[in-house]
């Protein structure tokens, strides 16, 4: 799952380069420029991916090791 999260991050970076909307000025819902909507979606997607990262890719080992070391030294 950890690798999946990092793959999703790479996917976000690729999807962010929305060159396919370069000269598209469609207004979604009558007011939202399509490229702005797409990029807004990237922001929401980033929040979702980082949420997954805090669950599946959080470096618990490093954090616990640090706390133990600090407590041991005190």
């Amino acid at each position: 799952m950890r690798y999946m999260v990092w793959l999703l991050v790479v996917a976000l970076i690729i999807l962010h380069q929305d060159l396919w909307y370069w000269d598209d000025r469609t207004l979604v819902w009558g007011f939202m420029p399509i490229t702005l909507l797409w990029q807004g979606g990237i922001s929401v997607g980033a929040a979702a991916v980082w949420f997954l990262a805090t669950i599946f890719a959080w470096p618990t080992d490093l954090i616990e090791e640090t706390q133990q070391e600090v407590e041991g030294g005190e």
Binding site: V9, L12, I13, H16, Q17, D18, L19, Y21, W22, D23, D24, R25, L27, G30, F31, M32, P33, T35, L36, Q39, G40, I42, S43, V44, A46, A47, W50, F51, A53, T54, A57, W58, P59, L62, I63, E65, T66, Q67, E69, V70
Partner: protein, 674 residues
């Protein structure tokens, strides 16, 4: 006057909050600087978000969207949502671990230890502080612009040269002093509380601003449809054919005006006879504004084929009309082909030429107090013009039309390097090193991209809508051509809401600006005391109280420098912000290698820093000190050259020099399971 009163009340409230926070102050300089590591996830999120976005996000993004279109969001906002949080994962947690183990409070302490080099601090300190200054400058400059814009006409006779409102310099000064006071009273804890309070204020007021402006423009659909009709290029990243055609037509008309003025001057003002001039004015159908008489005469002169200029004279005419600096050595083609609008834009414009508008009767005849009528007998003529409006009419009617610009794909892609700046931003680094618990990073990591979207999307839409808003009941653009992008948001706020709401919404913008300044002020104070004063003076040499006084004096010194810089020629907020971020990004290879590459050596680190900052200085100079917002290197953002160059030099020099000892590396790269 009402908006000013609302702003003053808000500033007093803020000072009260700072003083209240000071009652929680535990007394030590450590608590003052770092709040004894006790800031939780919520305050951390607010502090990080409030400091990294702010003036840049509100004033900068609106102005940039006005100038460049909706693509601005993709340039920095969505990429920051990905990269900022990535840096938290890749750098933040590792730095937290090292800070916890070895007690670092500033990034220089970490680098000194990691690189076993005392002098790296001497090299890095001025660079880091020097890069923070343009970021502070954005806030100080923008606060003056915002207060000045909403206070026009507030005084009856004072500050006539500032449109009877608060001068920019005074607005900037007041905001700097208010932030200094609450930072001095409250320290890190007070700053964190003020930051949280102000971030909430600016987010809520930002949403209200968006709603008020969109309602005034006839709703979100009507506002976007108007852009589709008048400036379709702003809804995408390339230039719409209709915009291109409109520009070519407008440029051709402007060329006639320039040629006529040049030919008329050559003929000592007698190119047309008195009768012809009268006829020209009688036949003119355009708006009687600015230099309209010259436009009318130019029409007649062109229609009757009265202008006879050589190609070189035509090119001279364009340069003169557009207030650009005549090249000392003219290019080879000067007398062979008439320059295009695109070529004309390559010549530097003398912005100070606009001052002529205040004395030239063509433009200054309506200049006066904005609350007085031009002609009391004819109220339909409206109120007198401010200096800003007079200058605006000068630019709009004298200068060449603005060329529609598409975004370069290479520039868009290479903007991705800019959010790497968070890796070296001093205040973020301090938070990483000193956070109470790594768990407190979880909320900022997840919420940061969403907060960016909540603030940036409305700002970008407002900026784009501003391009096509018209004066009610007319087809005349509300904002004239060549308008200062920094003033777009305050202009829209002042024009689209009542005085009370205008004051409140401006307080929201100021909240955003101040929440950026406060953390930065405190951060540079901490750096100075920890990395220079205590480091070289010794811990026992200064008392706690003395350390605090020294920190405060240094902060005042930096604020004073920033303030004086803000009085000079203004730059685009967005452009200045991007330069600051680029500088920090160029140092990203250093922090990344320090955490993940055992082979990094002291010499490699020095080479990295020197390369990064040398390239930054060179490119900054080449961009006319940020005056050219479209400056690129090899067609890319300058940062896309700076980061790889710094990384390559660092790797080569590190591999050529003696690696650190295994014993030393063991402290930073412990073997797993031991």
């Amino acid at each position: 006057m009402v908006p000013l009163i609302v702003i003053c009340v808000y500033l007093l409230l803020l000072l009260g909050l700072g003083i209240f926070a000071s009652t929680l102050f535990r007394g030590s300089s450590k608590d003052y600087m770092l709040a004894s590591h006790s800031i939780g996830p919520f305050l951390l999120l607010m502090s990080l978000f409030g400091t990294t976005m702010t003036a840049f996000a509100l004033v900068g993004s609106t102005g940039e969207a006005y100038a460049e279109g909706v693509g601005v969001y993709g340039l920095l906002a969505s990429s920051s949502g990905i990269i900022h949080s990535l840096c938290f994962f890749v750098l933040g947690i590792k730095l937290w671990s090292l800070g916890k183990k070895y007690g670092y409070t500033t990034q220089i302490q970490f680098f000194r230890d990691r690189l076993q080099s005392d002098k790296i601090g001497i090299l890095l300190f001025p660079i880091l502080v020097g890069l923070v200054i343009p970021y502070l400058l954005i806030g100080v400059m923008a606060s003056g612009t915002v207060i000045s814009a909403v206070s026009e006409g507030a005084f009856s006779s004072m500050f006539a040269e500032y449109d009877y409102g608060v001068p920019n310099w005074l607005g900037s000064l007041v905001i700097s002093i208010v932030v200094l006071i609450y930072v001095f009273f409250g320290g890190m804890r007070g700053t964190a509380w003020a930051n949280a309070f102000q971030t909430i204020v600016f987010m809520i007021l930002g949403i209200i601003t968006f709603w008020v402006i969109s309602s005034n423009l006839g709703g979100v659909e009507a506002a976007s449809q108007a852009v589709e009709k008048r400036n379709p290029s702003k809804l995408m990243r390339s230039v719409a054919e209709s915009d291109e055609l409109r520009y070519e037509k407008a440029f051709a008309t402007w060329q006639s005006l320039a040629e006529y003025n040049y030919a008329n001057e050559k003929a000592d003002g007698n190119l047309l006879t008195a009768e012809q001039k009268e006829k020209a004015i009688a036949e003119y159908k355009g708006p009687p504004i600015g230099n309209w008489k010259a436009r009318a005469e130019a029409n007649l002169a062109v229609a009757n084929n009265l202008i006879d200029l050589t190609v070189a004279e035509k090119n001279d005419a364009f340069i003169e009309q557009d207030d650009r600096v005549m090249p000392e050595e003219k290019p080879e083609w000067w007398d062979k082909k008439v320059m295009t609008g695109h070529e004309l834009n390559h010549y530097h414009r003398n912005e100070a030429a606009v001052l002529a508008a205040y004395t030239d009767p063509i433009y200054s005849k309506n200049l006066g107090h904005p609350n007085e009528l031009i002609n009391p007998d004819k109220p339909e003529l409206g109120t007198k013009w401010t200096r800003k409006r007079t200058a605006g009419v000068y630019r709009a009617t004298k200068w060449s039309p603005e060329e529609p610009r598409g975004m370069s794909m290479l520039v868009f892609i290479t903007y991705m390097f800019i959010p790497l700046s968070v890796g070296m931003f001093p205040h973020l680094f301090q938070h990483w090193l000193t956070a109470k618990s790594a768990q407190s990073f979880k909320l900022p990591v997840v919420a940061h991209p969403l907060f960016i979207a909540i603030v940036w999307i409305p700002c970008v839409l407002v900026g784009v809508w501003a391009t096509s808003a018209v004066v009610p009941g007319t087809e005349r653009a509300l904002i004239p051509p060549h308008f200062n992008p920094n003033a777009v948001l305050p202009f829209m706020v002042a024009n689209m809401s009542g005085p009370f709401l205008s004051g409140l919404l401006t307080a929201g913008v100021l909240a955003a600006i101040m929440s950026s300044l406060d953390s930065q002020f405190l951060c540079i104070g901490t750096m100075f005391t920890e990395d220079i004063v205590v480091h070289y003076g010794g811990k026992k040499r200064f008392s706690d109280k003395q350390v605090l006084i020294i920190a405060r004096c240094f902060i005042i010194g930096i604020v004073a420098i920033t303030y004086f810089l803000s009085l000079y020629e203004p730059r685009r907020v967005f452009t200045l912000g991007v330069w600051t971020f680029s500088g920090f990004s160029s140092l990203f290879p250093l922090v990344f290698a320090a955490l993940y590459w055992k082979r990094l050596t002291k010499a490699g680190a020095y080479a990295c820093v020197i390369t990064a900052i040398s390239l930054w200085c060179l490119f900054f100079y080449m961009s006319d000190m940020a005056l050219n917002p479209h400056f690129t290197v090899f067609g890319m953002m300058p940062v896309a050259t700076m980061v790889p160059a710094a990384a390559i030099v660092m790797v080569i020099v590190s591999l050529m020099t003696q690696p650190p000892s295994d014993e030393h590396l063991e402290r930073f790269f412990p073997k797993k399971g031991l």
